[in-house]
Amino acid sequence: MNPEHAPGQGPEDGVHAVVAEFSHPHDLAAACEKVRDAGFTRWDAYTPFPVHGLDDAMGIKPTILPWVVLAGGITGCGGGLLLQYWANSIAYPFIISGKPMFSIPANVPIMFELTILLSAFAAFFGNLLMGGLPRFSNPLFRMPRFRRATSDRFFISIERSDPRFAEAKALLSGLAGAVVVEECPVDTSSDEIPRVVRYTGLTVGLLALAPFFLFFTARNTTSTEPQFHVVPDMDFQPKYKAQTENDMFADGRAMRLPVAGTVARGELRDDEHLQDGTIDGVWAKDLPPSITGDAAFMARGREVFAIYCSVCHGLDGRGDGLVTRRAQQKGLSWVRPTDMLQDTVRVQDIGQLYGTVKNGIRNMPSYAAQIGVRDRWAAVYYVRALQRAGYASLDDVPPGERAKLEKKGDD
């Protein structure tokens, strides 16, 4: 930036610069070479459009703007990568269709866009700031003649701050094609901001801070008032919720009760043997008549047992399931579940086993909520098989399978 005289305190003769006007760009270029060769430093040429060759004629060094833009671009590219890495891998990692938390290809588009964006900002603002813009007050604007510098005339101005300013006027007057040579007066107008602007600015500035102040207070204080809903979203809906009042009905409830005698699907309790495992209050000795104990039912029972029972009781029912073993390993106070193969359990009727699953016993909770009626029977049916298997001899194995077992024993 040029070292300006403070407005209103110009030198005694009140001259800011000497200005020569040209009507042809080639005259201007020739003149610029002369001014450059005469050794002036604080001067400039003004043209309505970029005149090519003028940079050399004036001896202007190439701008460093491309380097500024490069820096902007690198910041954008690296910042884009870091932003995505930090946001999706550290601050808020979430898995989308098993994709990795961080992968460069998915991040390229945004890195690219941010590279361009920050480069463009660097080019735009770099261009302005390095050229000393915005600069709304310029003594040259006080010269009526200079207004054509943006239309069809070409100017050279040598400023008073140039050490060889004394020779300036003579040099410019002698240049070929110089239509007029004039002195540009120093800008003597006041540089004070008008009072209206100052106070309006101050008021608007203070008011603009008010929302931030309110946010800050709201975040750091407590209140007994309900939350203020700017946008209600779906928080308030024109409907009745369960357990609320509604005077439309005689009983004042929003919820309607089912008609007397209503039974939900699958909840009809008309088969004591099937549902409770008892016949007239005594444990049943067999499967209910509606269930056939075939191989498929046994397979299902094995499945249910593996899912619900084996975690504590173990896959063979001896009471060393994963949970049990883990608890013992950790030295926790854990009551080992009952060994299903011990005699006290083996003598129980199948209905009693069913009752245990349904109602729970001692530390074991009821599994009625997890396991359906048929599956409970399947599980206990399988328990029966486990109990039998635990005390089986070779005679219990079908003849075709015996050979296999015997062979295994030899190994």
């Binding site: 201007l28 400039d44 309505p48 090519h52 080019a123």
Partner: protein, 479 residues
């Protein structure tokens, strides 16, 4: 190609006319361009006032539709299962596409030293900005709960949530946002010297103040010009890959999805060609009446329009090739869902839209093979409007046909727009034309400084070249 020197022009086989018609000097260019923006408010041309009244009324319709949408919810649109991307997304892609011509003319043609661009670039850039504004509106209001639209951006928030950077929809936010910003900077930066011209010619205090603020104290100092030209070149070099990336990213919205008809690798180049195609058609649509109305025929000549028509022909044919290639690949790829989708496009319930698209986009521009058609104002106007219509239908066909019939026939449906859809689309034209008319009335519609730099030096006459050697003063340095 650099020269606009008539002596050289006569030797060319194409017998190319000069960039500007008639006798011109720097002052006449300034005068021709500035007088459009300069009449006092009381002397505003009647035609402009009528146009503005119409455009701003349509803009009010848009405002009413958007308000209705906000207060009621997205149910006012025809978007419903299975077509959840209805007209709003069609309109978004349509407007973004139109917004490609401006930056293409400004940046790519600038890098290729196509000097004829100087007469139309400002115009096309303005069109770009306004089209991108219309485009940005649609995804903005499409999010449903608009007050949560800030979720689109990676803003630190009290929920400690961040957007998913692996989603093409987020890439879209960045691509369109960057494009809008860079286009605005490019447009504004190019306009600073011309705003200074308007400032220096201003007679009223208000105008001097307004143009004074926006021209940022530009003096035309060569030290400023030196940096300005470098910055402009850099911005052009940045905008060129950007303009190609934007519609590529928009196409990812579709191509990354697994829907038949969307999941194709041809989409990025196909979308970019379509975008340039629609953008140029829109420039012609606007330029023809504007040069007539504002008396810019000497600056925007038939040569400029012809050059744009050639681009329309080229890109239209590329788009036609892409339509054909989609069919070829759907057959060659052997994926039954894909094959079905394309057969369904051409012969299914949306066949009417498909054939409107093909006839407007592929067949109509073929008349530009003939010079008579390329240089005829009525013909180019009709073709350009056809292309605008056709390109809207292209986006409709892509978006709606694929969504309405995907893999499972039980989830098929037929999309019908509602009156709100229709009025919102019409209303977006109100926004576009309101801004455009304001631009024509108050801003420099032609890049005066650039036109002057591309002119032969008046003192030397048209045919004469300035003496070689030393500092070359003629503004011919673009080689």
């Amino acid at each position: 190609m650099t020269s606009i020197d008539p002596t050289l022009v006569e030797e060319r086989p194409g017998d190319r006319p000069p960039i500007l018609d008639g006798p011109n000097d720097y002052a006449s260019v300034t005068e021709d361009v500035c007088r459009i923006a300069e009449p006092p408010v009381t002397q505003t041309p009647k035609g402009w006032l009528m146009g503005f009244a119409l455009a701003s009324t349509i803009l009010l319709v848009l405002g009413a539709m958007v308000a209705h949408l906000f207060l009621t919810g997205v149910g006012v649109w025809g978007n419903r299962s299975p077509v959840f991307w209805g007209w709003p997304i069609v309109n978004f892609v349509f407007w973004v596409g139109i917004g490609h011509a401006g930056t293409l003319i400004s940046a790519i043609l600038f890098l290729f030293r196509q000097k004829w661009r100087t007469s139309i670039n400002r115009f096309a850039e303005a069109m770009t900005i306004f089209a991108v504004m219309c485009a940005g509106l649609f995804p903005g209001i499409h999010v449903g709960r608009v007050w949560l639209a800030y979720y689109l951006f990676p803003i630190p928030n009290q929920m400690q949530m961040w957007p998913n950077f692996r989603s093409p929809l987020l890439w879209d936010v960045f691509a369109v946002g960057t494009y809008a910003t860079v286009s605005l900077l490019f447009w504004y930066m190019g306009m600073i010297p011309d705003l200074a011209t308007l400032r220096d010619r201003a007679t009223s205090k208000v105008r001097r103040l307004a143009y004074g603020i926006f021209s940022l104290g530009w003096t035309g100092s060569n030290r400023q010009w030196h940096r300005f030209e470098r910055a402009y070149l850099i911005l052009a070099a940045l905008a060129t890959p950007l303009v190609l990336s934007v519609h590529s990213v928009v196409s990812f919205d579709f191509a990354v999805a697994q829907l038949p008809g969307w999941h194709t690798t041809i989409f990025p180049p196909y979308f970019v060609a379509g975008a340039i195609f629609s953008g140029f058609a829109m420039v012609v649509t606007l330029m023809v009446p504007a040069r007539q109305f504002f008396g810019l025929k000497r600056i925007v000549t038939v040569r400029h329009l012809e050059a744009m028509n050639k681009v329309i022909l080229a890109t239209g044919t590329m788009v036609g090739y892409a339509y054909g290639m989609e069919f070829f690949i759907s057959w060659y790829g052997g994926n039954p869902a894909e094959t079905f989708t394309f057969v369904n496009r051409a012969f299914g319930p949306y066949a009417w839209a498909y054939w409107i698209m093909v006839s407007c986009n592929v067949l109509a521009p073929q008349v530009f093979w003939f010079k008579k058609a390329r240089t005829s104002i009525p013909i180019m106007m009709v073709v350009a409007i056809f292309v605008n219509i056709g390109m809207w239908f292209e986006r409709f066909v892509i978006t709606v046909t694929s969504l309405s019939r995907d893999f499972v026939p039980s989830s098929w449906g037929y999309f019908s727009p509602t009156w709100v859809d229709v009025l919102t689309l019409i209303g977006s034209f109100g926004l576009f034309f309101t801004l455009f008319l304001l631009f024509c009335r108050f801003l420099p519609t032609v890049a005066m400084a650039e036109v002057k730099a591309a002119m032969p030096e008046p003192g030397h006459g048209h045919a004469e070249r300035p003496p070689a050697g030393g500092a070359e003063p003629a503004p011919e340095g673009g080689r």
